[in-house]
Structure formats: C-alpha cells, structure tokens
C-alpha cells in the first residue's frame, strides 16, 4: 500500500515537472520566430533573479494575489461548483480597498486602517460571490454562466466609477488618486517591493486548508462536492453549502484586491491585472485544488511572470510581453495532459501487478 502511495507521489511530481518544463521550452522555442536566442534571454533573466534580491522578491510579490484567486477557485471546486468570476470579485475588492483607503487615510492609525480595508475588500468580494451562490441556491441558476458574466458587469461598474466618483482630482485619466504612504501595506523585506500581503495570502491558504480538512463545514463542503444528493439525504443542505462556499470564495478573491491596491499599485487604474482570475484557475488546477499546493504553484506562476518581464527588459532583445501568457497557457495545458499521463501510468502499474500476482499463483 505504502509503495503504491509513494509511486503515485513520484508520478505526480515527475509528470508535473515534465509538463512545466515542456511549457517553458515550447514558449522559448517560439522566440526563435522573432530571431531571439531563447537560451540567452532565459539565462540572462534567471541570472538577474538569482543575483538581484529585488527581482527575486518580485516573484513572491506576483504570487501574492494569485494565491488568493486560486484559493477562490479551489474552494468552490471542492463543492463541485465553478466560480469563474474571481476576476470580478478581485476588482470589487480592489474598488472597496481603494475607496476605503482614500476615505480613511491620515485619519486613523495605519494598523486599524489596514484592518478595516482588509475587511472591506473581503466583504466586497463576498458580496458578489454570495450573490452568485444565492442565485444558484434559490433559483438553481447555472453558477458557471452567472459568475462568468458577473466579471464583465463588475468591469463595467469599475470603469464607470473610475470615470466619475473615483476619478483622480486632476481629472485627466480614468484612474484614482494614489493613496497616502500611511495606507500602504508595510514592506516585508527592505529594499524590495515585497509587502506583508504575502504573509496574509499564505495565512489564508493555511486557514482554508484547516477549514476544508479539519472542520465539519469543510467536510460538508467536500461531501456536497462528491455527491450532493447523498449528502442531502444525510442531512446536509446543499443549497446552504452553495451560498457559504460562494461567499467564502468571493471573499478570498476580494482580499487579492486589497493586497494589490494597498501593497503594490497604490491606486486603481483602468484594466489592471486582467488575467488574475484565469491565472488563479490555472494555478488551482496545477495544485489539484490543494490550498498548500496552491502556495507553491502560485510562486511558480509568479516566477514565470518575473522571468517574462525580465526578458522584456533585456536591452536590444525585444521580447514581447505576451511571452508570459504563452508560458502560462502552455504550462496549464501540459499540466492537464499530465493528469492523463498519470492515469495511464497508474493503470499500467495495476495491470503489471495483476500479471505478477497471476504468475505467482
């Protein structure tokens, strides 16, 4: 038994590793179309990451919001629900964070402000998520479609607010005023951009792991995910679980808005971070929806992102920024294929075992 378990672990690590490498190599090979030497740009940017602490810290910086949106997807996924609208919930959290920060800054102490803003962003995300869950529970409406469409509605709302109530005082661009330094999330490592948001994200990941695997609520959520009819018969109300799962999922994505606003951007700009929701989904799949795995998968995505940006900075190389979504897309696709490879390997192992047993008897 233990040997089989070890073997599946080894399969998982090996196949996923192969998938990641294949995704990176293929995107790198495409650079040849632009007459760029992929080995040169990859090694230059990786050297920059290894030698420069600022750049290395950027990996964790980029991973911070991704952990949250990936958790958002993974949490509903455990209940066999699809929250494809993390992007909208993330934007909603960002709107709440920037608005609260602008209102409260320089009036109350930083620690209190950050706490209020965190709760505000969390609540804003939970509002959207909860609404989707409510529509699912009350009207049995397809949560996949509703959550998908909700992102576009929130995007329009954000653009509206940036044009009107939240527009900068200069009134020139559709963006907010920058928030005061006292409302920033404090730095985690001096001389880098990395902020306490990373710690917050990791704590949330651990919290969600505990919630899912060590509490009755988590057990119920997973039970509904495995078989909603059976769990209804055993006294768990699936509709209640739908609402709770989506509330929490939305809240998690909302927190990403807080870490990005108060930690990185310090202002709300039109169309910022448009891939946050989709990347979160990819990470959740890569980590098999395991909250702890999500931390590491997010760091991997953060690294791909920083490698891509570093390549773009190499003078004269002209690496386009689209290399990041190419790498992420290919890695995601190959990771999905790795799932297939694992089932094949496992079934072959099973067959061999049976053959051996037959030969022995």
């Amino acid at each position: 038994m233990k040997r089989i378990l070890n073997a599946t672990w080894r399969d998982m690590v090996l196949t996923n590793f192969a998938a990641i490498v294949a995704g990176i190599v293929l995107s790198g090979a495409l650079l040849l179309f632009l007459g760029i030497d992929p080995i040169f740009v990859f090694s230059t940017s990786i050297r920059a990451i290894l030698t420069d602490g600022y750049t290395a810290a950027d990996i964790l910086l980029k991973a911070t919001p991704l952990i949250m949106t990936a958790l958002a997807f993974a949490f509903t996924y455990k209940a066999n629900l699809f929250n494809i609208g993390a992007q909208g919930q993330f934007y909603m959290g960002a709107i709440a964070a920037i608005w609260l920060s602008l209102e409260l800054q320089n009036r109350i102490p930083t620690a209190l402000l950050l706490l209020i803003v965190l709760i505000g962003a969390l609540a804003a995300g939970a509002l959207i998520g909860g609404l989707i869950g409510f529509l699912k529970a009350r009207f049995d409406s397809n949560e996949f479609l509703v959550s998908m469409m909700s992102s576009y509605v929130v995007l329009a709302l954000m653009n509206y607010l940036l044009r009107t109530f939240l527009k900068e005082t200069k009134g020139e661009y559709p963006q907010t005023d920058p928030i005061a330094r006292s409302a920033w999330l404090p730095n985690l490592i001096k001389g880098t951009r990395l902020h306490y948001g990373f710690i917050i994200s990791v704590l949330f990941a651990v919290l969600i792991w505990v919630l899912l695997y060590k509490t009755t609520l988590g057990f119920r959520i997973r039970a509904v995910g495995q078989n909603s009819r059976a769990s209804a018969l055993s006294g768990i109300s699936p509709t209640k679980i739908y609402v709770i799962a989506f509330l929490i999922s939305g809240a998690l994505a909302g927190v990403a808005g807080f870490t990005e606003m108060n930690g990185v951007q310090h202002m709300l700009i039109q169309d910022f971070n448009p891939e946050m929701g989709a990347a979160g989904l990819g990470i959740a799949i890569l980590a098999n929806a395991n909250p702890i795995g999500i931390i590491f998968a997010s760091i991997l995505y953060g690294a791909l992102n920083v490698i891509g940006t570093q390549m773009g900075r190499i003078p004269g190389a002209n690496v386009p920024s689209s290399i990041v979504s190419l790498m992420q897309g290919f890695v995601m696709l190959f990771v999905i294929m790795a799932y297939y490879a694992r089932t094949k390997i496992a079934s072959r192992r099973e067959k061999n075992k049976r053959k051996r047993e037959a030969a022995l008897s």
Partner: protein, 305 residues
C-alpha cells in the same frame, strides 16, 4: 430608427448565430466547447492576418476557419480522448489563445507605427430583394457572412433533427452506451462536432475583425464567445432556441451601440449599456427553468471492457 436598430441587430447577431448554433450541435453530442472564447479570438486573428497578407477576405475567412479548427482539435483531443475536464481545458486554451495571437501578431507585423487596417467586408445588397421596403433593409442589405448564416442555419436544423447523422449526434449526448451498441463511434462523432464548432467559431471571430471593424486587437472578442456559449444554454439546446436567443442578444448589442452613440440620453452611463448584454445573460439564466440538458453533457465516454 427602429428599422435601423433591428437591421443592426441582425448584423450583430451574425457571429453569435455561427457560435451558438454550432455550440448546440457539439453539446447535443455531449461536449461543451468551453474553448469557444479562444476559438473566436483565433478566428478574428486568422481572419485579419489572411486578409491583410493576401489582400482578399476569402483567404482571411479560410485562415479563420483553419485557426478555429486547430484550437478545437487540441480541445477535442484533450477533453474527448484524454477525458480531461472541459471547463478547465477551455480556460487553459483561452489564456493560450490571447498569448498566441499577441505573440504572432508581433512576429508577423512587428510594432507598427499606426494600427494596421484592412477593408471590412462590403455590404452586398441582394438585387430586387433589397428593394422591398423594410424587409429589404432588414434582411437583404448585409455582408456575405449574414447571408451564409441564413442558408446554413436551416441546413443545420435539418441535419440535427431529420437525418441519421443528427440522430447519432443526439443519441451520443443522451445515451452514449446505447449509441455505441448501435454501432456509432461516439468519441469520433463528438470530436467531429467539436471540429465543426471550431470552424464555425472561427468564422464568427472573423466577423468581428474582417466583417465589421477591419482591424485586430487581442481584447476585441470581449466575452462574445461566452455569450454564444450562454445562448446555447438559454436556448435549451435547440436550434430554434439558439436563433431566438441570438437575435435577443444582437438586439441588446445594437441597442448598446445606439445608446452609446447618442450619449446614453445624458442620464444613463455608457457603461450600463456596455454591461447590458452580460446583465441580460444573468437575468435570463436566473429566469430560465426546466432545461432539458443533454443527459451526458460534459461527461467523457469511456467504453466498458
């Protein structure tokens, strides 16, 4: 003004017709084509590239179809033959499509000083028919893609409900085991319907670049693929339902464009009209009951033994 609005609604419906009707065919065979947004985008890109490089929209449309089929083929292999999750695979391909288009746009055209333009498909008034008052303007004063839609939709309807091929498709989605026993190669049939959806989705995407705007940007689809996907649900997996749904959305989009052009009447913000089709989808999804979902939609078929 109303005629103008309705006429524009039919124009804006055209790509959604292609997208939603072919989605219905694929879903009736048991596969949700969640890569539809990426298929639309690659179609838009292929259409633009073909037209720009060879100076003829025919080549653009051909390349758009090839691009759509290519995305659909990857999607089909992973979801049907490798039996992986359809929503997840679709999301991966949609991200990849954005990166792919942006990257190869750069490979082909570098960083142009001024945005590249192509001549949008011209309107071809049909002789005599376009002279009919009201109806002529509404139906017979369009570009070629709209006419293709007129012809192809009844054919697909006939195929799906009145031929043995249609029966095979529908039974693959309802009861693949029985279809298999009856000698239908379920997975191959599903794969073919997905390729078909890829071809049609490619044309749909090309409508936005070649047929309408005469340019390409990576955000030009902006969820239209997902709306076609939603229409398939809302139309209850029926061709007629999809056609009605498409027209409703075309009207919503035409109304949105019109209201933006007159500045929202000064009272409503433009963003409300931009969001209108998406809000409409949510409202209709919530209101719609008693779906008859194909029984094996989204479930890979694994042959026993």
């Amino acid at each position: 003004m109303i005629i103008n609005l309705l006429s524009r609604a039919i124009t804006m419906s055209t790509p959604l017709f292609f997208g939603s009707v072919s989605e219905v065919v694929a879903e009736r065979s048991g596969v949700m084509v969640t890569a539809i947004e990426g298929i639309f985008l690659l179609g838009a890109w292929g259409g633009f590239v073909g037209t720009y490089l060879w100076g003829n929209a025919i080549f653009g449309l051909l390349l758009a179809m090839i691009c759509g089929i290519a995305v659909a083929a990857i999607y089909g292999v992973v979801t049907i033959f490798m039996k992986q999750h359809q929503v997840v695979t679709g999301t991966a391909l949609n991200i990849l499509a954005i990166g792919f288009c942006a990257f190869f746009q750069r490979v082909l055209f570098g960083i142009p000083q001024i945005p590249l333009q192509i001549q949008p498909l011209s309107v071809i008034p049909i002789p005599i028919l376009s002279e009919i008052p009201v109806l002529g303007e509404l139906f017979f004063n369009k570009n070629i893609l709209t006419y293709v839609a007129y012809v192809i939709i009844p054919i697909i309807h006939y195929m799906l409900y009145h031929t043995s091929l249609g029966l095979a498709i529908r039974s693959s989605g309802e009861n693949p085991q029985a279809a298999d026993v009856a000698g239908i190669n379920v997975n191959r049939l599903r794969f073919l319907t997905v390729l078909f959806a890829g071809m049609m989705g490619g044309i749909a995407g090309a409508f936005y670049s070649v047929g309408f705007l005469g340019m390409f940007t990576t955000n030009m689809i902006g969820g239209r693929g997902w709306i076609a996907f939603a229409i398939c649900f809302l139309g209850n997996w029926q061709i007629t339902g999809a056609v009605i749904g498409t027209f409703v959305f075309g009207l919503a989009e035409a109304l949105a464009i019109y209201m933006q052009s007159i500045g929202g009447g000064g009272f409503f913000p433009n963003e409300l009209f931009i969001a209108f089709p998406y809000i409409l989808t949510i409202v209709l999804t919530v209101m719609r009951r008693n779906f008859s979902v194909p029984a094996n939609l989204g479930i890979p078929y694994i042959k026993e033994g």
